[in-house]
Symmetry: C2
Subunit: 413 residues, 2 copies
């Protein structure tokens, strides 16, 4: 008997999870190690126990829920995604991969089908960069993609460092223990909403992700000179906001000028100081995100922006400091896993599209320590990171079904 | 015997006042009706009592400290300024006019010189727009320059309305009682730091202010469309921050294009939502301040910006809403008061400059109900609204001396 998905339970659990939030429903805000995040984590662990699974948490709160296989010593087959949600976002990004992964494991357990390898669903800590400015924190550390010194030096907007923050919520083991050995997983498959409109536009059901785009992000800190907005003449002003405005526009220009549709650039953060209507801004901080499916082209766009920053700041006599957060290479999916996904899609008679993920995911880093691929499902209008983000129960059920079959297939290879 | 200024006491009191602050010294942040503001108010009243003066507070907390004259029924001669300080500003803006005004009254009392009219120092509530977005709140209401309905509708950034806020700190009388009759003051003279470098550059001691520039300020609320910074292609984005960036740059352009040195434009506030590095900004809010000594030219600059907003928002498919806060006409000083100031300057053998105030002051509104003029003293580098704002004790002493003599002169006219 094939694994059968309980889509009512999965939908109900997604609704429940969305209520652990610091924003009013339907908006979701769930930031790393806040009270709501800790409540969501406790709730997830209670679901694992209810289902009869083992779980463990590492020193960053990455949570591993395991259904033990008939040959427990073999490297496991993993799935998973993240539970955190950027401010005022929606309820499907990441969560579909966590709760959908859990449902896949429950369905496999219910089916009684045997699997040699253990199956594991992983809830990654801080895929979103909201608190410490760096995305995929859990998977970066797990895969050794970042030096632990850098991790320890991370500070949030209130000046709290990562070590203090994690220990305050009970994660006290040494950071070194987070790293996973290369043979921990035989394969890793992440289920996620597409966050783009291609599947919906083409009326297709499953996205088979063969690569993940290369993201880069950095902060720009600008220091000019403040003063009275009425009394200070225009000539010789060193207004940090005006430099920031030119830089934000140059991010857009750099993405458009690349000539490739896949180059995207966004200034998602712009803060100024002192932020009074009658005071010239003396400081500004920008948070910039540039991505491409092509690493080289991405780097060229970043370079374009860095050169503009230099020119603008010279002309406006603004001091600047660039804080590079990440500039990660793209990742390729594993052929064997892709084949397993295609097989599951075919067995289930679903329609599918081979595609690239322009959004990054924890799988970008899991690719460094394990064969990796991803399964996408459509989301309405391609909308994500917004309260109106939506995936139908039918699409979610199809995604989880493909995931369960893919995992079973890989677990017996 | 002429009034003699105790500059040590005044300097000490300015230092003391600067410590009622929500920013670390030397920066000062003192926002309307916060705990620090209320402590500063209580302290000022204690100084009035120590000096043997009467005081009263109105329904907005405007505080009137009076030295009664020999003919108490005559309209009084007033001076005064404000105690509030925008975030991370300095310790002289406004406060020199309040504590200097108090010292002028004390010096006159000590001198034993007679004065027919009562003398009054006024501490205005919320000259700065920090909390409710509208500058000169106290003097606007006092002079009937704003409808009380509009005042009651004001809300701060936390959604607290003005009525709730004032009552919470004990100002419960009806707002109607704030209005002053036209014959309340025979004359009003405000002492203030120049907030510009002209006096310092020309090595002059006293500014005789013959007009106050026309300020306008407004908020622009922009609504675009959010989305995932990686997955959402550039084409068809409706990024609210990029529209805001163009608008901020157009404020600078409008001021520069006026061709007159006196036209200044500043975007002092820019807030975006949701403010996550990997999320396209769906909303932005700008706070814009445009001023000129010429009301018509000021209006042209405002018009230029409003047209840019329309064009930019059309092109970028952004919805917008303009919230006009104020667009006040300039004010002319009273010839009789100017003559009294000039006489005092001459008697004291000080050097002086006739000048325009490009910054606005409560006197802009007092001009609607009383003959008005202002006395400026130099401030270092023309710097204001910054922690390094500074006026020498000698310059302050000269300013207070001119003020005291001017008031005495006007009190016996």
């Amino acid at each position: 008997m094939n694994p059968r998905i309980d889509i009512e339970q999965l939908s109900r659990e997604l609704e429940q999870l969305s209520l652990f939030s610091d924003a009013p429903s339907p908006a979701v805000t769930r930031v790393l190690w806040t009270e709501q995040d800790m409540k969501a984590r406790a709730w997830l662990k209670s679901l694992a126990l209810e289902a009869g699974f083992l779980y463990r948490e590492d020193a960053l709160g990455n949570t591993f829920i395991r259904l033990v296989g008939s040959q427990p010593d073999l490297p496991a087959v993993g799935t998973g995604s993240h539970n955190d949600a950027i401010p005022f976002s929606g309820m499907y990004d990441g969560t579909v991969g966590v709760l959908g992964g859990l449902e896949a494991l429950r369905a496999i357990k219910r089916s009684g089908l045997s699997h040699a390898r253990s199956l594991e669903v992983l809830m990654f800590t801080a895929e979103e960069p909201t608190r410490f400015g760096l995305g995929c924190l859990g998977s970066r550390v797990m895969s050794g993609a970042i030096e632990l010194e850098k991790v320890r030096a991370l500070k949030d907007a209130n000046g709290v460092d990562l070590e203090t923050a994690r220990k305050a919520v009970g994660y006290t083991a040494p950071l070194e223990s987070v790293r996973l050995p290369k043979d921990y997983y035989a394969a890793f498959v992440e289920l996620h909403i597409e966050q783009a409109p291609l599947l919906e536009q083409q009326g297709l059901q499953i996205g088979v992700v063969n690569a993940i785009a290369a993201p880069a992000s950095f902060f720009v800190h600008l220091t000019g000179e403040g003063g009275h907005a009425g009394a200070r003449l225009m000539l010789g002003r060193r207004d940090a906001l005006l430099a920031a405005a030119e830089i934000a526009l140059s991010v857009e220009a750099a993405a458009l000028q690349s000539g490739a549709m896949d180059t995207v650039g966004t200034t998602g953060i712009l803060e100024i100081h002192p932020a009074a209507i009658n005071s010239i801004p003396s400081q500004a901080k920008l948070g910039i995100d540039i991505r491409d499916t092509d690493g080289l082209r991405r780097d060229q766009a970043v370079q374009h922006v860095l050169e503009t920053i230099k020119t603008v700041c010279q002309r406006r006599q603004i001091e600047y400091r660039i804080e590079m957060m990440n500039a990660d290479p793209p990742a390729q999916s594993d052929p064997k896993i892709l084949e397993a996904i295609r097989q599951a899609v075919q067995d289930l008679n679903f329609s599918s599209l081979e595609m690239v993920s322009r959004a990054y995911h924890d799988s970008l880093f899991m690719a460094r320590i394990s064969p990796m691929a991803m399964i996408f499902i459509p989301c309405r209008g391609g909308v994500s990171h917004r309260p109106d983000e939506y995936a139908t129960p039918e699409d979610m059920a199809r995604g989880v079904e493909v995931l369960a079959r893919t995992m079973l297939n890989l677990a017996n290879l």
